[in-house]
Amino acid sequence: MIPLSYYLILSGVLFSIGVVGVLISRNAIVIFMAIEVMLNAVSLTLVAFSQQTGSPAGQVFVFLVMTIAAAEAAVGLAIIIVIFRSKESVNVDEVNLMKW
């Protein structure tokens, strides 16, 4: 059986890739994809822990996370489409009407 630490390291790496992706990417769609990678890393963690402890709760949580991610995707992509219609671009550097 694959030890728990492998799963945890993999999900930690995935989560970090997601965070770095959000921070360095300039394309709103790519940022959104990076956020999805973060959420999937969390799902992996939950499933791994659930398998190790034998409690099914973790796997149920994954369903909740998937539902939430789907709802977020619907709203988020709609917002990005609205931006694209008015700006013809999804580059976050060009969305800069407000600055302090």
């Binding site: 945890l8 989560f15 997601g18 965070v19 959000v22 709103a28 940022i31 959104f32 956020i35 973060m38 959420l39 890393a41 969390v42 963690t45 939950l46 791994a48 822990f49 190790q52 402890t53 409690s55 709760a57 973790g58 949580f61 909740l64 996370v65 939430i68 709802a71 977020e72 709203v75 988020g76 709609a78 917002i79 990005i80 609205v82 931006i83 008015s86 700006k87 976050v92 969305v95 800069n96 009407l97 407000m98 302090w100």
Partner: protein, 479 residues
């Protein structure tokens, strides 16, 4: 094997059920109503708020704990629900447009769904349920922030809010996953008594949860989205965001840290201490430089998150009740000041720059007096509710040995007096420009203004009533 059905008591989630039903009803009714009947929708939403509040009241002192602590009916949950419902009602009131134009059913429905999320957040001791509530609240708010689809600023506000919000959700969720992994549970009542409290994985999880919640309540290293989102969103929604989600974030923060994880207090108190000082100072200093009044109030809302963090650091029963008191008072005065901005906004989102307010206090004395009350209250000068709230927080801090924090808080209040009273000075002591701003306000905006102004003054002069209620907020709190 006989199947035993656990006792199901719907009393404790009755307010949530009512809000859900009304939100769906408003959404479904919208397409079937002719345009001249659309005014029914806001009335229906307000009715929903009142019915939900009616079902909240019997929960006071009931201390119900259902579904393994996933639904709580303790006093803290009840008082937070009342704060959210009050904020929602005032938001619906200030959303009325004079020209007979309506926002549409989905607007009111989304406000109700957002309120539902906040109520779920405040009344659960299970981390996963808190997370679900937070998402229900946030997803509705992302849409609301971008509700003016033709307005570029509103679009930008929605996108920034969405990206930052979803990013912070990732942190919160990872934290919950790590805590679930180390302890095998996400229930706060079980977490307190588990032997893994000092494991590095658990502490990492706790830190990630703090990051996630700090994003929602807008404390300093995680505050970048606030000014842009507040400025771009439609003004009633800005008022809603300043009052409700902030209170909901603090409800979760209080549950997790002050009630749930008291054994680890020495560890997180230092972190929250630093966050509180940074949040207050940066919020107040940056607010001075703002010329747009919505942006100024956004920085002011950051600063107020700092004041409330003081009460979390102070901890104990006083800390808990003073933060509840302050959140209620803050909701009133901040929604009131946004109501003034709405009353002055001429057909849409104009007149938000400070120079637009020149001389308005003399031309429209009632509006000027209301704005003065809110500004004085936000800066914490007696005899207003803001003063009582700050006094309560600082005295809780001194009582629990956080003297330095109280002093820093008082100094920060002094800084804030400058930019709050600048608005009053501009309104009363400068000449009005020749084509000056004409306030347009429907009866409901005026009603909201009167209610908030009266409550701000009234709670400043007679704070005892609310004081006694908030002091009971911890009485039946599970710990």
């Amino acid at each position: 094997m006989p199947i035993t059905i656990p006792p199901i008591d719907f009393r404790v989630i009755m307010p949530e059920i009512v809000i859900t039903l009304f939100a769906c009803l408003v959404m479904l009714l919208e397409p079937f109503l002719p345009d001249r009947r659309k005014w029914i929708l806001p009335h229906l939403s307000s009715l929903g708020v009142f019915v939900a509040a009616y079902f909240c009241l019997p929960l006071w002192n009931s201390n119900l704990l259902l579904w393994q602590g996933q639904a709580l009916g303790d006093n803290l949950a009840v008082i937070f629900k009342i704060i959210f419902l009050l904020g929602t009602l005032l938001t619906i009131l200030i959303s009325y447009l004079k020209s007979g134009h309506h926002w549409g059913g989905e607007y009111y429905s989304l406000i109700l769904f957002s309120t539902l999320g906040m109520m779920i957040m405040a009344s659960s001791s299970d981390l996963i349920v808190i997370f679900l509530g937070l998402e229900v609240m946030s997803i509705a708010l992302y849409v609301l922030a971008g509700f003016n689809r033709s307005d570029l600023k509103s679009n930008e506000s929605a996108m920034k809010y969405f990206l930052m919000g979803a990013f912070s959700t990732g942190f919160l969720l990872y934290g919950i996953a790590l805590i679930y992994g180390t302890t095998g549970s996400t229930n706060l009542n079980i977490l307190v008594n588990n032997p893994h409290l000092t494991e590095p994985l658990f502490i990492t999880g706790l830190g990630l949860i703090l990051v996630g919640l700090a994003f929602k309540v807008a404390t300093v290293p995680f505050h970048m989205w606030v000014p842009d989102v507040y400025e771009g969103a439609p003004t009633p929604i800005t008022a809603f965001m300043a009052a409700g989600p902030k209170a909901a974030g603090f409800a979760a923060l209080l549950r997790v840290f002050l009630i749930g994880l008291t054994p680890l207090a020495p560890m997180w108190i230092t972190i929250l201490w630093i966050l509180a000082v940074l949040t207050m100072t940066l919020g107040n200093v940056l607010a001075i430089a703002q010329m747009n009044i919505k942006r100024m109030l956004a920085y002011s809302s950051i600063a107020h998150a700092g004041y409330i963090l003081i009460s979390v650091v102070a901890g104990g029963d006083d800390g808990l009740s003073s933060s509840v008191f302050y959140l209620l008072v803050y909701s009133l005065m901040t929604i009131g000041s946004f109501a003034v901005i709405i009353a002055l906004g001429e057909k849409g989102e104009k007149n938000e720059e400070l120079p637009d307010y020149r001389g308005l206090g003399l031309k429209y004395p009632l509006l000027g007096v209301c704005m003065t009350i809110f500004m004085v209250s936000l800066s914490g000068i007696p005899p207003t509710a803001g003063f009582v709230g700050k006094f309560y927080i600082f005295s809780a801090a001194v009582k629990n040995g956080q003297l330095e924090l109280a002093i820093i808080g008082v100094l920060n209040s002094l800084i804030s007096v400058y930019y709050y009273l600048r608005v009053v000075v501009i309104m009363f002591m400068q000449e009005a420009p020749s084509p000056s701003v004409v306030p347009h306000s429907s009866w409901s905006v005026q009603l909201a203004l009167w209610l908030t102004a009266m409550a701000t003054l009234g709670l400043g002069i007679f704070p005892d009533i609310l004081f006694k209620i908030t002091q009971q907020s911890w009485l039946f709190t599970l710990r």
